[in-house]
């Protein structure tokens, strides 16, 4: 193989760069985690110190548990995120299949129209969306969030997935047609398994912004029973006084589910990002 690739100096430099980047990326998470286990004074005196016998405290977590219905927020965030991912992947993949597989009038135009959504941020339409939600009575329901996030996620999903679906062998789909499979069976049984890495990529790209979003929960579903985790955490941030223990504890707990979902998707994700580059 290429000599330059096996050169130990280059390998070391490469790993050094990757480790450095990992440290930079993980540092804020690390700071949040250690400080969530410290007393308020310790947080401000030595923000970077690890919690020791003196500074260790679970006061933040206790506050979070007492104040508000944190498990409900948690559940809301999870429902919204998972339901949105489901709809984005389902409808995105179906639209992508239609665009990549069938010749019909306006195919290219439709593709461009859907891609347009990637360039125009959905928040521009917030006022109109709010009016629509009020009119349909969906304000303060999780459906309001799920629908908006699905709309927000679809353009990128269709764009990425249709590219990948074009690479699925035509012969395979035709073999299915000759064997008498319906178009739905071909889609679900033959094509979807082959674009799974791309689906994971789309899922991760959509998941994190939705989980972290504050804007739409605040506007569309600020009621106590529909609050998401991010919105729920805001009660600890005041104009004058912020309960840092509680904020940090809430954030630490909010990281967990994303981490779990990420681990589920990541193996597929790595294949998705590198496929095409290395074949």
């Amino acid at each position: 193989m290429n000599k330059a690739r096996t050169n130990p100096l280059n390998t070391a430099a490469m790993h050094g760069a990757l480790i450095l980047y990992t440290l930079i990326a993980l540092f804020p998470v690390f700071v949040i985690l250690i400080n969530s286990f410290k007393t308020r004074k310790a947080i401000f005196r030595e923000p970077l110190a690890l919690p020791d016998a003196d500074s260790f405290s679970l006061i933040g977590y206790q506050t979070v548990m007492k104040q508000g219905d944190f498990f409900l927020y948690f559940q809301n965030s999870l429902i919204v995120t998972v339901a949105t991912l489901f709809f984005v992947l389902l409808f995105g993949a179906m639209a992508a299949f239609a665009l990549s597989e069938y010749r019909f009038k306006g195919n290219t135009l439709m593709g461009l129209y859907l891609a347009l959504g990637i360039m125009i941020p959905i928040r521009i339409g917030t006022v109109a969306i709010l009016e629509m939600m009020v009119a349909t009575g969906l304000v303060n329901s999780l459906w309001a969030l799920i629908l908006v996030y699905t709309a927000q996620g679809l353009p990128l999903a269709v764009f990425i997935l249709s590219e990948f679906m074009r690479q699925v062998s035509d012969d395979l789909k035709n073999a299915g047609r000759i064997d008498g499979l319906t178009e739905y069976t071909i889609f679900f049984k033959l094509v979807l398994p082959l674009v799974r890495p791309a689906m994971a990529t789309v899922a991760v790209f959509n998941m994190i912004p939705i989980w972290n979003d504050l804007w739409f929960p605040l506007i569309l579903a600020p009621a106590e029973e529909t609050k998401t985790l991010t919105l729920g955490s805001q009660v600890f941030i005041g104009q004058f006084v912020t309960d840092w223990n509680a904020v940090l504890s809430a954030l630490s707990m909010a990281i967990l589910p994303v981490l779990v979902l990420y681990v589920i998707f990541s193996r597929q994700l790595i294949r998705g990002i590198t496929s095409g580059a290395v074949k």
Partner: protein, 331 residues
Amino acid sequence: MTALTLTNVNKSFGPVHVLKDINIEVEDGEFVVFVGPSGCGKSTLLRVIAGLEDASSGEIRIADEVVNQTPPSKRGIAMVFQSYALYPHLNVRKNMSLALKQERQSAEVIEQRVSEASRMLDLDAYLDRFPSELSGGQRQRVAIGRAIVRQPKLFLFDEPLSNLDAALRMNTRIEIANLHDQLGASMIYVTHDQTEAMTLADKIVVLRDGRVEQVGSPMELYNNPVNQFVAGFLGSPAMNFLPAELMTPGDTRILGVRPEDLSIAGEGQIKAQVMHVEHLGGDTNVIATLGEHQITARLFGQHEVQAGQAISLGYSPDRTYFFDGDGQRLA
């Protein structure tokens, strides 16, 4: 009974006219090969027959039934693809039985047909493997098995040997020929390789630019091509074409002579300069130049010919073909 009848079939993709007035008949039990250079429309024609593309006009009959509006799975056909197109998530057994399950055949029928096909194709040891665990040749056999189990009225092969290496290609070619004898089924086989066409076909259909150039048995086409294209396409090495005026001044025709009909002669009609010699053991191919024209002679046995040497090639006048300026055969 005819297995397939195409009447004035046309196919256009937008402004591009791909198939032009195709008329073909395939008799029951016949092995028909569609051959032509890439882009001649032969694969499109096969897809139209299979129902994967709609014909823009014309009529397609399979076993005396008009099937223009029938979906592929109901046409009584089975197709083998160049890229095998096995279902990656199913093992060999399930790959072969899927179509039968879709037809709602009983478990016994499925079991019996699959085991029969796997015996014929030597696949018994691989029934529980997945396509990714098979070699190219085995995959192609599974693809053929998947077609056999359906007991179709018509088999369609789309360049099934193109992805195999040379040795395997020859073996599989013989296997397909055997299979045709055993099953006695009607088969249509698409290829760009004239050797496959010559060796397998009962009847060859030569296509060019979406038109049928000539239909006939391999030897008919070889001995009696209707035009310069068919003459040049069949046979390897290809037929030599020279302006006849090189031999007879004032003659405007094009002379065609097969490489094997040329021999080294003391006073041959063609005086040429040897450019390259291919020693194949059994044969010797001599490639010579005559001015700007290149000429290939296929000599039986081994000959001591050197590059750069002057050579005199002779042919017998009754082994020649003449074509006019448009490439049409002249009597």
